[in-house]
Amino acid sequence: MATETLTIGKALNTGLRRALENDPKVIIMGEDVGKLGGVFRITDGLQKDFGDQRVIDTPLAESGIIGTAVGLAIRGYRPVCEIQFDGFVYPAYDQIVSQVAKMHYRSGGRLSIPMVIRIPFGGGIGAVEHHSESPEAYFAHTAGLKVVTCSNPQDAYVMIQQAIASDDPIVFLEPKRRYWEKGQVDLDAPLSDAYPLHSARVVRPGTDATVLAYGPMVRTCLEAATAAAEDGRELEVIDLRSLSPLDLTAAYESVKRTGRAVVVHEAPSNIGLGAELAARITEECFYSLESPVLRVTGFDIPYPAARVEEEFLPDLDRVLDAVDRTFGW
C-alpha cells in the first residue's frame, strides 16, 4: 500500500492528475488553472503535462466557464470547472441551476452533463469580501445537482476522482481553510473499492450526543469531541460528505442511540442545511430524541470583515456550548 502524507490541496491535485490520466475525455477549465496552477495551486503542473487543450485557461467569465462546459459535455467530454472563489460562482448561477442541473431531465434522460464544478468554499483564511462564502444551500436545493465536500486528504483524493467519474453533475466544495492540512493518503487503492461518494461516515464514534458536520467544520467538531471527552462526554462525529443527496442512515442510527443531535456548519442558519438536517432527524428519530436538534452556524449576515470572522465561524466553544445545551433540556 503506497501511502503518502499529503495536504488536502496536494491530494486534490493528485486526484485530478489521475483523472486526466485515466480518461482522455476529462478536461480541466477555469481562470488561471494553467500556467499558474490555480490561485490555490490545485491544478499545479497539470497543463504542463497534459497540454492546453486538456487544462484550459479560460476568459474571465464564470457563466462562460460553465456554459461552454455544458456544450463540451454534450460533445462527450467530462469538464472539471474551477470557480476561483465561492463568491464568484454567482455569475454562473443561472447556467448551473437552469442548464447543468436540468439538462438530463429536460432531455428525458437523453443528455447527461457529467460535469464537476470545483469551488473552494468557506472562511477562515482572513480574506477580503466575496472570498469566504458558503453557497452550498443554493446548490443542494437544486434538483439535478449533487453536492459533496471533503474534509481530509484521503477523501479529497478519492472523492474528486469519484465525482469526475460520475455521470451526475456535481458541485465539489473544497474546504479552502483546510487545503494545507496533512494526512495519510493511500494512492493505490482502486477507485472501485473506495467508500461510496454519497455516503456519510462516522469519523469518531461516541455514545452521548451526535454531532453532524461537513467540510471545514469536521475538524472543528473532532477537536470539540476531544475536549468533550476530557469532560467525560463521548460525542459521535459524523462527516456528512454528501450534502445532496444527504445520507442520514448513519445519523439516524446514531441519534437513536445518543438521543441528541447538534448540526454544525459555517453557512448562515436561515433556510440552511442545518434546518433540513434538523427536520429530517426530528421526523425519523422523534421518539428517541431527548432534546431538540440544535444548530451551530454562521450568523445570518453577509460574511463579515476578516478581523471578526473568528467570531462568525463556529468554533470549539460554540460547539461545546451547544452540546451543553442539549444536555440541559
Binding site: A61, G64, V70, G71, H104, P114, D167
Partner: protein, 391 residues
C-alpha cells in the same frame, strides 16, 4: 422601395468588396431574391465575401415546399393553442426563410442549438414536427434526441444556448474535426433581444479566442416581446462581431436563397478552421411574440403591412412562376400536402396522452438518488391510496 429600406438597396452583381451603405446609414443586406421575386446573381458581404447559390429546379421547388409546410404547421400549432390544446405557442410566422435557409445550409454532422422558436430549423433537421408541441402542450419537455438529430433542446432562458454551442464547437476543435472533408461546425440561434444578454457576449468572447467552428445566427425580428430593437442596441447587430474579432454579415432574412448562401459560407469557413462568424438575419415577426402576447399594444399596422410586402414565401412563388420552375399544379400539390400534414399533426396532438404522474420523478439524475427514490415511492403509495385510482 422606400428610402432607407434595407430590402431594396442591393442590386449589384460585381460589387466592390466594401460594405455599401443605404440611406440613413442602413447597411446593404445580402440579398439574392428581391421581394418582387427577382433573382440577383451574387451579392457581396461587408468583408467582400461574394455570395451566390446555384440550385437545380428541383432544389428550388424543395425550398418552396419547406417554406410552405413550415408555415402551415406553425399555423396549425397556433390554432391548436387558441383551442386550448397547447398551453402556449411561439410562432415563427414571417421567419420561415431565415430558418429554412439556414437549416438547409447545415450538413448532417453539424450541431444546432436553438431557442424556442426554431420550428423551421427543427423541421429541416428531420425531426417530427409534433416534437415541440409536446413541450408546449405540457406533456413532456420536448421529445427528440439531440444527439441523433444534431439539434439540441429548445432553450427558453435567453442566450444560454450560445455558450453551449461555443463549448460544443470547442469540442469539435479538440476532436480534430475541423479542416477536413468530414469537418463539423455548430450553429447557435438567438434573437435580437438575446444580444443584450451577458451569456451571448461571453459566447462571442469565447468563440473568438478559441477560434471555435461556430456560426452565431441572430434572427433580428425587430422585437423582444414588446421591446423594439432600439432598446437593445444602437449599433447594427452584425457590426458587433468586429469588436469581438470575427466577421459579421447582415442578410435579408426573408430571402431564403441569401440566408442559405450566407449560412453555408459561414459554416464552411468554420469547418475549415477559420473560426466563428455572426449572421444577422434581418427579418420580422409577423405574429405575436407568443400566443399570450398582444402586439397591437406596441407596433403599428403600417409597419406590419410594410413587412407583409416582403413576405418570404410570396417572393419565391413569383420567382418560380416567372422562371417556369413550377406551375399551378405544383403549387396546388404543395398546398394539399401542407393541408394533409397539418390535419395529421392536429390528430396526433389531440391524441397525445398526459404522462403518468410518477414519471415526473424520472431522469433527474443519471445515477439516481436515494432521497428521490424515497420520495417517488411515497408518492406512488399516496396515489395508490385513492380508491379506483389507476396509479
Amino acid at each position: 422601395m422606400a428610402k432607407g429600406d434595407p430590402g431594396g438597396t442591393t442590386r449589384s452583381r460585381r460589387a466592390t468588396p466594401r460594405s455599401r451603405k443605404g440611406a440613413a446609414g442602413d447597411p446593404a443586406l445580402v440579398q439574392l431574391l428581391t421581394p418582387e421575386g427577382e433573382r440577383i446573381d451574387s451579392a457581396t458581404g461587408p468583408d467582400g465575401t461574394e455570395y451566390r447559390v446555384d440550385f437545380t429546379d428541383e432544389e428550388y421547388r424543395g425550398l418552396y415546399r419547406d417554406l410552405v409546410l413550415v408555415r402551415k404547421l406553425d399555423a396549425e400549432a397556433t390554432a391548436l393553442q387558441r383551442q386550448g390544446e397547447l398551453g402556449l405557442w411561439a410562432s415563427l410566422l414571417g421567419q420561415e426563410a431565415a430558418q429554412v435557409g439556414s437549416g438547409r445550409a447545415l450538413r448532417t454532422q453539424d450541431m444546432a442549438f436553438p431557442t424556442y422558436r426554431e420550428h423551421g430549423v427543427l423541421y429541416c433537421r428531420g425531426i417530427d414536427p409534433i416534437m415541440p408541441l409536446g413541450l408546449f402542450r405540457g406533456v413532456d419537455q420536448g421529445g427528440w434526441d439531440p444527439n441523433e438529430f444534431k439539434f439540441n433542446m429548445y432553450t427558453i432562458v435567453i442566450g444560454a444556448q450560445t455558450l453551449h454551442a461555443t463549448g460544443y464547437a470547442m469540442g469539435i476543435t479538440i476532436d480534430g474535426k475541423t479542416g477536413t472533408d468530414d469537418g463539423e461546425a455548430a450553429i447557435a440561434y438567438f434573437g435580437d433581444g438575446a444580444t443584450s444578454q451577458g451569456d451571448v457576449n461571453e459566447a462571442f468572447v469565447w468563440a473568438s479566442v478559441f477560434n471555435a467552428p461556430l456560426v452565431f445566427f441572430c434572427q433580428n425580428n425587430q422585437y423582444a416581446i414588446s421591446e423594439p430593437l432600439e432598446r437593445q442596441t444602437r449599433v447594427p447587430l452584425y457590426q458587433r462581431a468586429a469588436g469581438f474579432g470575427f466577421p459579421g454579415v447582415r442578410v435579408d432574412g426573408n430571402d431564403v436563397l441569401a440566408t442559405y448562401a450566407v449560412t453555408r459560407t459561414a459554416l464552411d469557413n468554420a469547418r475549415l478552421g477559420q473560426g466563428p462568424s455572426l449572421i444577422e438575419a434581418y427579418t420580422y415577426r409577423m405574429g405575436a411574440h407568443t400566443t399570450s402576447d398582444d402586439p397591437t399594444r406596441y407596433r403599428i399596422a403600417s409597419e406590419v403591412e410594410a413587412w407583409q410586402a416582403k413576405d418570404p414565401i410570396a417572393r419565391v412563388k413569383v420567382f418560380l412562376e416567372k422562371q417556369k420552375i413550377a406551375d399551378a399544379d405544383f403549387f396546388a400539390e404543395i398546398d394539399e400536402q401542407a393541408r394533409r400534414e397539418s390535419v395529421h399533426l392536429r390528430e396526433r396532438v389531440l391524441a397525445m396522452p398526459d404522462p403518468e404522474p410518477v414519471t415526473m420523478f424520472d431522469h433527474v439524475y443519471p445515477n439516481g438518488s436515494p432521497l428521490l427514490d424515497e420520495q417517488r415511492a411515497k408518492f406512488s403509495r399516496y396515489m395508490e391510496s385513492f380508491e379506483g385510482s389507476a396509479h
